[in-house]
């Protein structure tokens, strides 16, 4: 089966085409266009306009790049949620229009579950991981337990990416701030104590963000503050992930989301995994960030297991919970 997937939950609009090859995902093309705001954060309406401008071309380019014809596409998937309303609606509309035009079925998928399944589908050896999903808006620890994908821990306020972006904005860095913070942190030498806030299995970042901003306004070096922020937030994320692994007794950990590109975070989670004799997986960067291929792959898994979705049922859901997904393709 060849499946085309459209991702549009936040600042990226992506189209990916995959082919299922003996239970593994072969990516035929995966194109992404990201909206970069001039200043401030992501404005939903502006991001949606950006997506609407580029989606049609992205679809034709990805079909071309995949060296297939529209007639070869068996299924059109799209990110049904969670995410920003206007953006989701743009991607969904494009998907429905395409599906109706080529007279093929449509399938809306959960964006967070897609981050997990693309790990299972593209990384060899990754079969039953605990996913640490870290992006701008989302920070969740997800694992398959008792027949569903469940959230074992999550942010109580903002996503880690959003926390880093907000801090970056406060110190006048350009979006996306994460990579620049990572650079600055490399030259940090002094650890400045920051609130280490874990409540049960959930994490809060707001207090830490405020404290970090205070250090900057009191004249502490940016390198030291960035270093301290990374060390503290990533330690919190690693701890919650480890506890989920202990609780579910799973021996694999998978990273996903844009923040998974951060080398320090990877190093920490990898070390934690090694010390528990567990295996660490991270997909290639092009499928860590928001992308269409992961949407296509999950759509395939769902359709292949017998799930179907009518156009009426394909309504978007900004608050689509990970545990609302009917995981019919796993035992």
């Amino acid at each position: 089966m060849i499946c085309l997937g459209i991702e549009g939950t936040a600042h990226s609009i992506g189209v990916g085409i995959i082919k299922d090859v003996k239970g593994n995902c072969r990516i035929l093309s995966n194109l992404i266009k990201t909206y970069k705001p001039e200043k401030g954060g992501i404005h939903p309406r502006e991001a949606a306009n950006h997506h609407a401008t580029y989606i049609a071309n992205l679809i034709s380019e990805s079909v071309q790049k995949a060296d297939v014809d529209f007639a070869d596409i068996d299924l059109v998937s799209f990110s049904q949620g969670p995410g920003l309303g206007p953006c989701l609606r743009t991607a969904a509309t494009a998907a429905r229009a395409l599906a109706l035009t080529i007279e093929k079925p449509v399938m809306g998928v959960n964006h967070c579950v897609a981050h997990l399944e693309i790990g299972r589908g593209t990384v060899r050896g990754c079969t039953d991981p605990v996913l640490l999903y870290v992006s701008g808006a989302n920070t969740q620890v997800i694992a398959f337990a008792e027949g569903k994908y469940r959230v074992f821990g999550e942010t109580l306020d903002i996503g880690i990416g959003n926390c880093l972006d907000k801090f970056g904005r406060a110190i006048s860095l350009e979006f996306p701030c994460g990579p620049k913070i990572e650079e600055l942190a490399k030259n940090g030498t002094r650890y400045l104590p920051l609130p280490y806030s874990i409540k049960g299995m959930d994490i809060a970042f707001s207090g830490l963000l405020t404290a970090a901003e205070n250090y900057v306004s009191k004249g502490q070096s940016l390198e030291d503050v960035c270093y301290s922020m990374q060390e503290t937030t990533f330690a919190m994320l690693t701890e919650v992930t480890e506890r989920a692994m202990a609780h579910t007794e799973k021996q694999e950990v998978l990273l996903g989301g844009g923040v998974a590109s951060n080398k320090r975070l990877r190093e920490m989670v990898k070390t934690m995994a090694r010390d528990r004799s567990a295996t660490f997986f991270v997909p290639s960067r092009d499928v860590c960030v928001d992308n269409g291929a992961m949407i296509a792959w999950l759509g395939f898994l769902m359709y292949n297991s017998g799930l179907r979705m009518s156009i009426d049922e394909s309504i978007i859901n900004q608050r689509y919970r990970t545990d609302m997904v009917e995981v019919s393709w796993r035992g």
């Binding site: 969670p82 989302n138 650890y191 409540k199 049960g200 060390e231 609780h247 989670v269």
Partner: protein, 188 residues
């Protein structure tokens, strides 16, 4: 001494920098030992503490030879499960009556022995008189039920029945807090 003991050692974690590791180990060890001792004084079943070494992060305490609630909850008869859950609620209420927040109430952290619920692992606990803290404490258990014992949807209800019986404050205010927390959760 001839007794079976548990040495809870807070293990240094190689993934985090020394400064964070040292801070966390010392503060969590101290807090945990204090909370366990205090809980005991209020009649909640907890391990007896024999020794504390803050520098090394070690608490030496009594071994509780029962079964984890996590391992027995799903295989009980419904009436037994109901009773067990009510007992859990009563014990949590006793803690909350004295502003003790366990901080990590999951079914992995409760041992059932001699018809009593024994709490272990106060590592994330604290003293906190606010309604919010009590709500969060119970919410963690609610989530633990949903992720590990989801088949038995009344567990939390039964826990709260027991909680209401023993709690000296306004239990309905606590329940309202829990509902707030659920509503606050992302994407709910």
């Amino acid at each position: 001494m001839g007794k079976t003991v548990v040495e809870k050692r807070r293990v240094k974690k190689a993934y985090r920098i020394k400064e964070i590791d040292t801070l966390l180990i010392a503060s969590r060890t101290k807090e945990e030992a204090k909370l366990i001792a205090e809980s005991r004084s209020y009649g909640v079943s907890v391990p007896l503490i024999y020794d504390v070494d803050l520098a090394q992060g070690i608490i030496t305490m009594e071994y509780i030879p029962g079964k984890r609630v996590k391992d027995i909850l799903n295989s009980l008869e419904e009436t037994e499960r109901k009773q067990l859950c009510q007992k859990i609620g009563e014990s949590i209420a006793r803690l909350h009556n004295h502003e003790i927040i366990h901080g990590d109430i999951t079914t992995s952290n409760m041992i059932f022995l001699n018809d009593r619920i024994h709490f272990i692992d106060f590592g994330l606990g604290c003293k906190n008189g606010e309604m919010e803290a009590k709500g969060v404490d119970l919410h963690v258990l609610m989530e633990a039920f949903e992720s590990t014992h989801s088949k038995y949807s009344h567990c939390f209800e039964y826990v709260f029945e027991g909680y209401k019986k023993q709690f000296s404050g306004d239990a309905s205010a606590v329940m309202k807090k829990i509902e707030d927390i659920v509503r606050r959760g992302r994407y709910r």
